[in-house]
Symmetry: C2
Subunit: 447 residues, 2 copies
């Protein structure tokens, strides 16, 4: 083996390794998402990374089909790697709904693969983090979806964000009243570009490509630009959709969602009715959501979703409406990094036990076990090296506390507890299961 | 779309969906493993599912090469799906060690893929759950590996298990003393089958295929069958390896591991020196571990590992010794199921708020938010259906508590808290943020 040339250790283009400093905050974020999802009764599921190709291409757009990682497996079957978690959910629900029953509430946090053009800064492997409620049209599920998004953002540590809410029927009602009901899809597709290309270009495109008059384009932009307190927007919308049953239904539903979210104790500052949101035109049929950070509006929505009528129509005749949303993990982590919400930590343990008296390994192991039993994370440095070298290691890894003792300290039944941020030490007794050490560590961690 | 024939919703042979009842205990087990790994300072990492084919086939045996899922990607590169987490770890460490520094302690919990023969009950996609310490030969890391396995098993809920420990040099020393040093690999390969084919067939194979005499085979089986208290086995081994420096080193190391594990407070009942363990002959070079459940010895080891000399020799000239182990998730979950350690739970929330007065949605939402704020998981049934139907749903999902209130109860500021196991209810006040309800729920959960 030593004679063979070395194989170059490298990852494929568009793929990445997660080192501890990236993976620790990532895992913490995923743990937070799971905790919030579970607190609302969403259950975890998982599905295979590989599916029959026909399952994946059934629904896909030309773009997703082109990006699919596909091949023949050992049995000559045409297979592909999943490119999202929605198609597998649809297949899963169609296959198992009689066992699962409804309402069925699931979360699914898993990798997906797309042979994207990496020049756009996209990765070919990334995680999705979805939650959905299947099998009910009740507004209670719409309200709950907003509550989950709110709780999730707060649990992650964000205080300044807005969940923008719209309802597809409101837009349809407005267009109906303007005599543009039959061109709704083309017009909404144009409107969906508002945040990217701005109102002037949207107006141009509405007249040139979507068949609206210049006056109609101006009116649509005016309506979709309604802002102000949510109740005021609702009041302004009511006359605008009067006479359009669809539009009235949409406005009524928005009012119910707002009321329910408030009843659950969410402050109005976190919610904004926004008639311009026209996301997922081929897919969403009711409420739609996007979530923006006040500090970084330009990164786009960090949690988006909406209501759909028929999840699994490709695989079953059973009518399965649902609602859900997806947390944008990569975008959120980038935002948290930019906002200084992520410390430079490369260890999940807080305490390092320095090891510099070879004959005292048993004492170090015993001390670590005592601290660990109190629920704290502890690493024992594995080799008896100079204390300076070990403290350098502690610093690189981001440990918060070092426990330092040699033969003399152990003989005296003591140990030094060193705060690695302030560089201050205190000497603690090792008696009674090192309770004094545990207390000193806790004080440092809380400081 | 409605005119097209339905696509059959199905998974590929050898792949499986995880429904909530399987995924909830699975996720709980993984959470426990992460908690224990973190408590010893092991950091999470992740690597791509797809790697350059040459990275994967460099080390692989003929068997793993045959089982590899491989194909050409969009750029014409030969790629494959990882078949374990060890090869990616080797590639990862070779690529990043200068950034990571040593000792580097990581855990990695992720799916791997093998085009196995499914007739043997094997799956083609399964999770591995590994932890390793790279860059040190210190016995402290050997001891810590045993401590992690012990803590992991206890944290999962096992009280009756044994971690069997051996050292490759002990076996080599014994064979050296028997004059079989040059046939060690063939003999150990045969010995490794002991638990599967029994001592008689092993003896046959040692003479017919591995070049031992009948007397030598008997002697090897006698030595490898040494049992008794650990200190007694150690004492018996010492004279047997006397004169073989390798064997003495191995026995000395076993003594150090035993002593260190005891010093950290682990009872001797959890450890057994077992000279017959000869796992991973091409790979392990020092201590080796296997973990058996007393109640289900025949399912084999549920957590195995060992020490290796040179992790990443295919990718770097840097010498990277290490030690680690892998938790057998599927095997453990099957065992826990068989031992009745997994309840039939299909929801991660404990409390269901029944919804049977349509006009009281806001009250239900407020009540749920209050309970959730106390740290409890709560699901609000999304539609106003008959209470019997909702209690049936609660039963199917495995909720433990139902909160039941209609207009009359809300007017009186009260709610019924129903224990769904005992079917007993108590009426609680909704005043003061529903603290009485929270307390009643906590009492039921603790009962």
């Amino acid at each position: 083996m030593s004679a063979s040339p070395l194989i170059q250790p490298r990852t494929l283009k568009g793929f990445r390794d997660y080192l501890p400093e990236t993976m620790i905050p990532r895992e913490r974020l995923i743990d937070t998402a799971k905790r919030v999802y579970r607190s609302y009764g969403f259950s975890p599921i998982d599905t295979p990374a590989l599916e029959y190709l026909e399952v994946l291409t059934g629904k896909g757009s030309e773009e997703t089909d082109r990006q699919l990682y596909r091949f023949q497996d050992h049995g000559g079957r045409e297979v592909g790697l999943r490119f999202d978690l929605t198609v597998p959910l649809a297949r899963f629900v169609a296959q198992h709904i009689s066992t699962l029953g409804t309402p069925f509430k699931r979360y699914h946090i898993a990798a997906v693969w797309r042979g994207e053009n990496t020049q756009r800064g996209r990765y070919r492997e990334f995680m999705q983090c979805d939650f959905d409620t299947i099998g009910t049209r009740s507004v209670a599920a719409d309200i709950e979806t907003v509550l989950v998004i709110h709780d999730l953002m707060r649990a992650i540590g964000f205080e300044n964000f807005v969940i923008r809410i719209n309802h597809r029927l409101v837009l349809n009602g407005l267009l109906e009243k303007l005599g543009l009901g039959d061109r709704a899809t083309a017009i909404l597709r144009t409107l969906d570009k508002l945040s990217k290309i701005g109102p002037e270009k949207v107006a141009d495109e509405m007249t040139s490509a979507a068949g609206a008059t210049a006056e109609q384009a101006v009116e649509i932009l005016r309506l979709s630009g309604l802002t102000g307190p949510n109740d005021q927007v609702l009041q302004q919308l009511e006359p605008l959709v009067a006479g359009s049953p669809l539009g009235q239904e949409g406005v009524g539903r928005l009012a119910e969602i707002l009321g329910g979210v408030r009843a659950a104790g969410v402050a109005d500052q976190y919610l904004a009715l926004d008639v311009s949101i026209a996301r997922g035109l081929d897919y969403y049929t009711g409420a739609v959501f996007e979530t923006f950070l006040d500090a970084l509006p330009n990164i786009g929505s960090v949690c988006s979703g909406g209501r759909y009528d028929n999840l699994a129509g490709l695989y079953t005749k059973q009518d399965l409406p649902g609602i859900g949303a997806s947390l944008g993990l990569d975008r959120l982590l980038a935002a948290m990094e930019e906002l200084g919400m992520i410390g430079a930590v490369r260890t999940p343990a807080d305490v390092l036990v320095a090891f510099f008296d070879r004959d005292r390994l048993h004492d170090y192991l015993r001390l670590a076990a005592q601290i660990r039993r109190a629920g704290l994370g502890v690493e024992v440095f594995p080799e008896a090296k100079k204390v300076g070298q070990q403290l350098k290691y502690a610093d690189q890894r981001g440990f918060r506390v070092a426990l330092i003792a040699g033969s003399r300290e152990f003989q005296e039944g003591q140990c030094q507890v060193k705060d690695l941020r302030s560089a201050q030490s205190e000497t603690c007794s090792l008696a009674d299961g090192a309770q004094a050490v545990v207390a000193a560590v806790r004080r440092i961690l809380a400081s």
